[in-house]
Amino acid sequence: MGAFLVRRLSINVLVFFLITIAVFALVHKTPGDPIAMQIPADQLNSGSADFIAQKRAELGLDRSLVVQYWHWLTNALHGDLGYSLLNGRPVTELLGERIGPTIELMGVGLLISLLIAFPLGILAARRRNSWLDYGATVVSLGSVSIPVFFVALIVIYVFTLKFQWFPSSGISDPTNPGLLDSLHHLVLPALILGFGNSGPFMRYVRSSMITELDADYVRTANAKGASPRRVVLRHAFRNSLIPVLTVIATNLPQLLAGAVVIEQVFAWPGMGQLAVSSVNQHDYSVIVGFALLIAIIVLLSNLLADVLYTVVDPRVRLR
């Protein structure tokens, strides 16, 4: 198990460096200039070119990309991601105050999607081609094919405007803070995110479960006198998890993408919101910092999936 993890870890570190290089290059090659962006168009004159050049030199933007990257990397490894080109605040600080809400939204959203996907997928697999199976298929198709923002608008219309059950904006009510209030604000965005991601999970749980329920060892368990419930939960379930874990881990970027959209719709003060505004204003250091953070999250979750593998599948430990 140790050697297995060390190998996976070193692959992840390598991937991590490749991602930062790619993002760095991409961001700096996009047309548009962060300094010029800050000068109102009517004030642009012959002198502003000099001003921009001077500013760029101050910020190190005139140096070669390799040098800039090296500079950024050595600082990053010391926990310094630079400063926002717009407001001069440290990028780590900006990200730091945004990461919590996003992780909260993604975590609860993921949990909800699994709570939808597993029971439905298992039931659909056990009753193949029943009305329940078809119903589950419709639900999962809906979850995949209806755009998140569209679902969000309908949900806001029904639950916020019509019934006024749940708020549709922000993470908490400053006049009435507390755990209950936070949960209250979390309900709609997390439910929508969870629903949107449950579709593919459910399809994989279902097909994986169908494969396992046909397996020889399931027949053996039946021949021993195990109850259907025991056959599903004790025998087939754990085997069916093996392929599903990969799907969940590789789906995390989609989950994050969904969260970015939902943060816009629900004015959720997370990283998605920050990222969108930084991209619009070419705030290089924030974008790169954001990308770095995503890379870390994705790689960590892949690593987590690897660890879970070794827990679920005893055959992995020896490889």
Partner: protein, 328 residues
């Protein structure tokens, strides 16, 4: 004669497939007496596994099963409630399957799986006791160092060791009937002999009646009391092992035996009888064996030969079984 331990009468199993209805088993009757070893032989696809699985209703839902009787110790298994059927599965009836590579759960320890077989039939479930019994059972079936190896997973066991674990599960609750579906087919030849010896020992110690499905006529000669020969989903001959080997009374059985220069070769390896078994979705009219039968004549092409009692404890489904009695 005493009441049979297991009585199957008029069993038929159909599968609806895209190619039409497959008549996997047709009108099979079979009785197993307490302590008796009955071998079922026949080519691949002749319906042996389907027959064995229908006893404990282990066929997939797609199977359409009908029978005049499936009774174990007089209990009608066709209509038994699911809960009471589970008490029989793995309790008084133990099963061993062909492929020990896939028949064990890959993510559960061997001990966990053997202990489960015990636990499911304890009156008061006791995990510790079940685990101790699992260690004991594994020792009994010849797994070395059982106290350590219970903690291992199937992939850490060799094929032969896995089949020993399967046997341990089958005999865990002192069964009266063991159904073994080709228990050695998937194993190396040298291991086959060991596992067979173990099976014989287990049978002798538990006194369980055994249905032994096999391709290996050598095994039949060595182990079985009685032989049931299946062809195209039907029983074509059934007799005591000596009588059957001495004077087969069905041309198919005769073909199987004649092609046995050496007892340890498989039926399938030898391809003893020219031609192939019929398509079970559209079996030939008359005697299903007639396209391959050296004795076939007009009557065989139109008239299905019924399985008739032709002597004490022996029957044949051939219009001309008399002729075979003479040639011997």
């Amino acid at each position: 004669m005493t009441e049979p331990l297991l009585q199957i009468k008029g069993l038929s199993v159909d599968f609806r497939t895209d190619d039409g209805v497959v008549h996997a088993v047709t009108d099979v009757s079979l009785a197993v007496q307490p302590g008796e070893i009955v071998a079922i032989v026949g080519e691949s696809g002749s319906g042996k596994t389907v027959t064995a699985m229908s006893v404990l209703r282990l066929l997939p839902k797609a199977a359409e099963v009908s029978a005049d009787a499936i009774a174990f110790r007089g209990t009608d298994l066709r209509t038994l409630s699911a809960a009471r059927l589970r008490a029989i599965r793995g309790g008084p009836v133990g099963m061993i399957f062909q492929d020990p590579m896939t028949a064990l759960n890959p993510v559960m320890t061997i001990g966990g799986q053997v202990a489960e077989a015990v636990l499911l039939h304890q009156r008061r479930p006791d995990r510790k006791a079940a685990w101790r019994r699992a260690v004991e059972l594994l020792g009994l079936v010849g797994v070395p160092d059982p106290a350590e190896r219970v903690k291992q997973y199937p992939h850490e066991f060799s094929g032969g060791m896995r089949q020993r674990a399967m046997i341990a599960m089958a005999i865990a609750n002192d069964p009266d009937l063991i159904i073994a579906d080709e228990p050695t087919t998937a194993l190396d030849v040298t291991i086959q002999a060991q596992v067979l010896a173990l099976l014989r020992k287990a049978q002798a110690e538990t006194g369980a009646a055994t249905i032994l499905i096999t391709h290996d006529l050598g095994v039949v000669a060595e182990l079985a009391d009685r032989v049931v020969v299946m062809y195209a989903g039907r029983v074509v001959e059934s007799a005591g092992v000596r009588e059957l080997f001495a004077v087969p009374r069905h041309p198919y059985t005769k073909g199987l035996l004649a092609s046995l220069p050496r007892m340890d070769l498989d039926v399938d390896q030898l391809d003893p009888i020219p031609g192939n078994p019929p398509n079970m979705a559209a079996p030939p009219a008359g005697c299903p064996f007639h396209p391959r039968c050296p004795l076939a004549r007009d009557r065989c092409r139109t008239e299905l030969p019924p399985l008739l009692e032709i002597g004490v404890g022996r029957s044949s489904a051939c219009h001309f079984h008399d002729e075979l009695a003479v040639t011997a």
